[in-house]
């Protein structure tokens, strides 16, 4: 029956006059955001029933309204003849932005906060899996705690869909995705639809496994669920303080963060029995190697030692590299260089096709090879040097896109840093905040290693970080295209110059 209803809705949508590609994609994006928020709200409402149930009715009712609005909007769209890749990318931005706004509305409706800016910041931090938090979780009911962690879980899933099922099909980094059916193998993403299914087939079981692991080491079922959702999505929201006091919980979190930062392609190959040659993957080797090197440096630059020291260092490193943002107290004798080491770690060292933010190892490898090629060309200006990644020649367009992405990434980091510095943050914290927000990597540390509470920052500073979080979560390009598209639409609608000329013309007459 459900299938019949949706087929009918789809048929009614296709029967309408086709909309323009940009308008249809925007509407679909908003519809997707509404649907995701509806699902999240209803689930949070049901979760609230486990506790006092005070917000359950409100959350479920709001979820139903959002769902209906989403379906209604979806059915209104006249399917265009062709949807441009740029508009698909812009639509993902609108989907994420809509989700942020609706989660903020839920925070406001349930009274989790009374301030619009706080609600928006918390929602953006959740959906983008950043883990900057301004709401004290100790005062929240089960429903809101679920909403908070669930927004991260949905955000993590959205990031995977964007990275594996959207961007490669829109002309980005196609060489790097697992699409080939060569030799009868089962790739992760042969088509968009199958890719989304496969992502769900991995994401949900991994989340359940982590939940069970947390439960086995003594975390309560509900707290374990929240923690699992935050860990697998590389989100980083935690409940009340003291979550990671137990070493066993730390070990579970370490393994889960390592998994979450690993490419889904690796997990997929393990799942379908294509593990042969997996350890030879340069990405995986670099990913694991970075953990080892960073732990050694962290131990060398602090007074920590023994198994406890290694565990705490590994926890801190895995949290940074996977951009999860779980934070322990600083290690003993934290050296000045340690937070500086963690900054570049969270920007580049997660693997492609994972829920982590940042610039990703694969792209850095491409940049490194580009740098080496430039050196070769300095010596042999006429040489034709091709760059190989994973045994295949990388397309020059892909390399250009990576270079531009790096340019835009740095521009967003420095732009955000400048704005928050102008709004009153000190220079070191401003640089760190810019990197953390763009890499969606959670709490900022001071130079002595202590975690800085974002509530100590002014409201304008917090709001200035929201665009960076969104840009970072969307891998920059979709957000830039959405902004550019919106600017073009506004410019075409307003046509200020033409109106001024017309007004001047009327004045002359």
């Amino acid at each position: 029956m459900t299938r019949g209803t949706f087929t009918g809705l789809l048929a009614s949508s296709t029967a309408r006059r086709p909309w323009a590609s940009w308008t249809a994609a925007t509407a679909w994006g908003a519809s997707a955001g509404l649907s995701a928020a509806a699902g999240l709200s209803i689930a949070a409402g049901l979760a609230d029933l486990v506790g006092s149930g005070g917000d359950a009715a409100l959350l479920v009712a709001t979820g139903v309204v959002m769902g209906l609005l989403g379906v209604a909007l979806f059915t209104r769209v006249g399917r265009p003849d062709r949807v441009r890749a740029a508009d698909v990318l812009a639509a993902t931005t609108f989907a994420l932005a809509t989700l942020v706004v609706l989660v903020a509305v839920l925070y406001l409706l349930t009274g989790a906060t009374r301030r619009v800016d706080d609600a928006l910041f918390e929602a953006a931090s959740g959906v983008t899996t950043t883990a900057f938090s301004v709401i004290d979780p100790a005062g929240l009911g089960y429903g809101l705690l679920f909403l908070r962690a669930g927004s991260q879980w949905v955000g993590g899933f959205a990031a995977l869909v964007l990275g594996i099922a959207v961007l490669p099909f829109c002309g980005f980094a196609q060489e790097f995705t697992d699409r080939s059916r060569f030799g009868g193998s089962r790739p992760l993403a042969p088509t968009q639809r199958v890719a989304i299914r496969n992502i769900a087939l991995l994401y949900v079981p991994v989340s359940l496994t982590v939940w069970i692991a947390y439960a086995l080491v003594g975390v309560g079922p509900f707290d374990g669920l929240l923690l699992a959702m935050s860990t697998v999505s590389t989100g980083g929201f935690t409940g009340a303080g003291g979550t990671f006091d137990d070493p066993a919980v730390q070990w579970v979190a370490i393994v889960a963060m390592l998994l979450a930062g690993t490419s889904l392609v690796v997990l997929w190959r393990l799942a379908v029995g294509r593990a042969r040659g997996l350890l030879g993957s340069t990405d995986l080797q670099v990913y694991l190697g970075m953990h080892v090197v960073a732990v050694v440096l962290l131990l060398a630059w602090s007074g920590a030692s023994g198994l406890a020291g290694v565990r705490r260092a590994l926890f801190t490193v895995a949290s940074s590299i996977s951009t999860t943002g779980f934070a322990l107290d600083s290690l003993d004798g934290w050296a000045t260089a340690t937070p500086v080491l963690l900054l570049p770690l969270m920007a580049p060292t997660d693997t492609s096709g994972s829920a982590s933010g940042g610039f990703q190892i694969l792209r850095h490898r491409a940049l490194l090879k580009l740098a080496l090629r430039e050196m070769v060309r300095q010596l042999h200006p006429r040489a034709v040097v091709r760059i190989r990644m994973s045994g295949r020649i990388t397309d020059e367009d892909t390399l250009r896109q990576i270079v531009v992405l790096q340019f835009l990434f740095v521009a967003v980091v420095f732009g955000t840093g400048f704005v928050v510095a102008a709004l009153g943050l000190d220079l070191a914290t401003a640089i760190s905040a810019g990197v953390h927000a763009t890499a969606t990597a959670g709490p900022v540390r001071a130079l002595d290693g202590t975690v800085i509470e974002v509530t100590s920052w002014s409201r304008p500073i917090r709001m200035a970080l929201v665009p960076a979080m969104l840009f970072g979560r969307l891998s920059i390009y979709p957000a830039v295209l959405a902004v550019a598209g919106l600017a073009t639409v506004i410019r075409n609608r307003v046509r200020l110059g033409r109106r001024l000329r017309a007004a001047r013309h009327r004045g002359v007459e």
Binding site: R84, M375, L408
Partner: protein, 512 residues
């Protein structure tokens, strides 16, 4: 043939030998001044004699031939290393950096740092409250100013100007030393172009000296500061730098001089030849002036609203410091620590803007450092082209620079440069912080030294010394970065290729 007779050895020796003769001339100038006003004349004379003998020895013992690209990089980078090392002799012989409680290795490191900072026209200094500039002799200070002048336009450019035997390889050598000037010729022959550049440079220096004299400086100070203004170097003969005069007129002259030094000398040459202001048609010039103007206005606004200064005072402080860092000058107009001109004591907003200016630098074909505005313009244009290409996948979109287009090969070269630059900044920052520096001082120090800027933020600001901000190992890393940045990354990074090939060939020859 042994390694010692390899082309890279003979070419490097030849170019470095002639460069040392110029260095010896600078030391002699300092010695003469020291004879009249100072106590270190013997040390300066000995340094000049040793340098001249070494230079002449290298010049006449070696003979350059036809050279390939790898040898060009080795020759240029080797020359800069030799000049920087030998250039520290006067400081060592005069005991400039000797002080109680400091070992000889640190003294050696400080002398090398000051020499490298001078020849690369960086302007970072290890003088400070522990070792005042004003305690030094007039001759040694003039030599210090001269190092920036000779390094500002380029030592190898100077060598090519005077050496007929190098003319065949001149273009390669000049391109390796300063990529911006190599392609923009003012004359059909490269040696003539080099000569034109030096004439322009000398003329600009003389003009600035006269203007500074008119603004109230003594003849000695005017000449000394003209050397470091035209070269966008930033060394001063006073501890408070330009803040010593606290004069709007002096600051105006320095600002104009720095901007002229940071503009393309090719444009200056063409303007003089055609007697027209050809600058305004140049996209890089327009972009550069736009960047300086916007940055000045923004910093003025932030200083006037949050810095407790009146609008006029804020404009003066903003304009001077934006220009001095935006041109890679590195002068300061602070009258003391915490004064209005001490940008290290400003709020974080304007400091962040100055940090961005440390990256951007001046125009190609100028004496300034940094990434250069042209590369940033091409970078932005390339990003726009890529984003447009996503919206219109079938469109053929060129990368535009002004009214022209830039070929993809140049865009790739610029992209490669930016990638290497970014990697050096990140790696350098981690290394310098690991050597005991805080984040802001480290990142600004690395960017500043890579861009040959001078004073940087936080603990190495305009009223502080690099000794205050960085440990001795960290300063050594920064000195290496200055050389890497001065030669626009690649020559220094690739200087080992030719020796490596030569040694490998030699080993094969022996085993064969």
């Amino acid at each position: 043939m042994t390694v010692l007779h390899s082309r890279w050895v003979t070419t490097t020796g030849h170019v470095a030998g002639i460069a040392l003769l110029f260095v010896a001339a600078g030391m002699s100038l300092g010695a003469v001044i020291e004879l009249f006003d100072g106590t270190e004349a013997p040390a300066m004379l000995v340094a000049a004699a040793v340098t001249a003998v070494a230079g002449a020895g290298l010049r006449y013992a070696t003979r350059p031939g036809t050279i390939d690209r790898a040898t060009v990089f080795t020759a240029v980078a080797g020359t800069w290393l030799v000049v920087s090392a030998v250039g520290s002799l006067p400081y060592l012989l005069a005991g400039t950096f000797s002080r109680s409680g400091v070992g000889p290795l640190i003294v050696l490191a400080d002398a090398l740092f000051e020499s490298v900072s001078g020849y690369t026209a960086t302007g970072s200094t290890v003088f400070g409250s522990h070792n005042l500039i004003t305690d030094q002799g007039a001759g040694i200070l003039m030599y210090r100013q001269f190092t920036q002048w000779i390094g500002g336009m380029g030592i190898v450019l100077l060598v090519v100007t005077v050496l007929p035997s190098l003319r065949a390889s001149g273009l390669g050598l000049i391109s390796a030393e300063a990529p911006g000037t190599g392609g923009d010729r003012l004359a059909p022959r490269m040696a003539d172009t080099a000569r034109h550049f030096w004439y322009l440079y000398a003329g600009l220096t003389a003009l600035i000296a006269v203007a500074l004299l008119a603004a109230g400086m003594t003849p000695y100070d005017a000449v000394a500061h003209a050397f470091t203004t035209a070269s966008t170097g930033g060394f001063s003969t006073h501890d408070a730098s330009i803040g010593y005069w606290d004069s709007v007129a002096v600051e105006m002259v320095v600002m104009i001089g720095l901007v002229l030094g940071a503009l393309s000398f090719t444009l200056h040459g063409r303007a003089l030849a055609t007697r027209r202001l050809v600058h305004r048609k140049d996209a890089e010039f327009r972009g550069y002036i736009g960047v300086l103007t916007c940055a000045t206005l923004l910093v003025t606004l932030m200083l006037a609203t949050g810095g407790g200064m009146g609008p006029a005072r804020a404009l003066r402080m903003a304009a001077f410091n934006v220009i001095t860092l935006g041109t890679s000058g590195g002068f300061g107009n602070a009258t003391g620590p915490g004064s209005d001109g001490d940008f290290a004591a400003w709020a974080a907003g304007p400091q962040f803007l100055l940090l961005l200016l440390l990256v951007s630098g001046g125009c190609t074909g100028s004496t300034s450092g940094g990434v250069k505005i042209m590369r940033l313009i091409v970078g932005v244009s390339h990003a726009r082209r890529t984003l447009r290409g996503i919206r219109r996948p079938r469109a053929v979109l060129p990368v535009r620079h002004g009214s022209g287009t830039i070929s993809d090969s140049i865009v790739e070269r610029i992209a490669g440069f930016m990638v290497v630059y970014g990697m050096l900044v990140v790696t350098g920052t981690v290394v310098v912080t690991a050597l005991g520096t805080d984040l802001v001082t480290a990142i600004s120090g690395v960017i500043g030294c890579l861009g040959n800027m001078g004073p940087v933020l936080n603990r190495a600001g305009p009223t502080a010394s690099f000794v205050d901000g960085f440990s001795t190992p960290a300063r050594t890393v920064l000195a290496v970065l200055m050389l890497v940045g001065r030669l626009e990354l690649f020559p220094m990074l690739l200087m080992a290729v030719a020796p490596y090939r030569s040694v490998r060939r030699s080993l094969r020859h022996r085993s064969g």
